[in-house]
Symmetry: C2
Subunit: 126 residues, 2 copies
């Protein structure tokens, strides 16, 4: 069995909503790509039971309603929201917004990079 | 204490390497943004002990050396690599490649979206 799965898309920022968990066989995250047209918000506020979410703004700009605050967000912003954060995203009136959302279980990561990665002697097959 | 942390960057695809774990206080993932100049590859092959990695190609094109295969990769591709996969990425001779790498612990996600999210009655503060 292969150690990888791959999805090829033309442009991730132009999908209405694209979810990756099933297609890629993810076991430690759910990843979705989302687009909201100008002036449109996610139709509800939500929080989470166990998962922290990391959002990456890929295109456009808009607003994040988080608990009692509203924050301007734009392309290049990356933010983490703890499970209890009450959140909703809205696109600006002037433009759509595209973003990635990564759900992971809070406190689930043990090590990473140098403490989880193993550098090998083999040479790449390029 | 606020339920969110945010980093604002001009353009995520133009950083040499930008890591998010410390800056965002991530607890369930490490996320990095990486750029390789044209013709350049990561200087080693690596695998992982516990973590699966999800790569998102943000700009450009190149090659993934994975175990005994070499695969063409380009903007819009998303792929997951299991911990044991022996991997290395290289940019094409013609252009740089920019990609996001998300490290999460394999099999750590319990529920997601409908099974972990809680929809609230409150209205956003927009």
């Amino acid at each position: 069995m292969k150690n990888y799965t791959l999805i090829s898309t033309e442009d991730l920022s132009e999908k209405g909503r694209l979810t990756m968990h099933e297609q890629l066989g993810l076991s430690g995250a759910e990843i979705s790509f989302n687009q909201l047209p100008a002036g449109v918000n996610v139709p509800f506020i939500h929080k989470h039971k166990q998962n922290e979410e990391i959002y990456v703004i890929l295109e456009g700009s808009g607003y994040l309603s988080i608990d009692d605050e509203v924050i301007d967000i734009k392309k290049g912003d990356v933010f983490k929201i703890s499970p209890n954060g009450e959140r909703c995203i809205k696109a600006c009136e002037e433009n759509a917004i595209s973003f990635m959302c990564i759900q992971v279980k809070e406190n689930s990561l043990n090590g990473f990079s140098e403490t989880d990665g193993v550098i090998l002697e083999e040479k790449p097959k390029f």
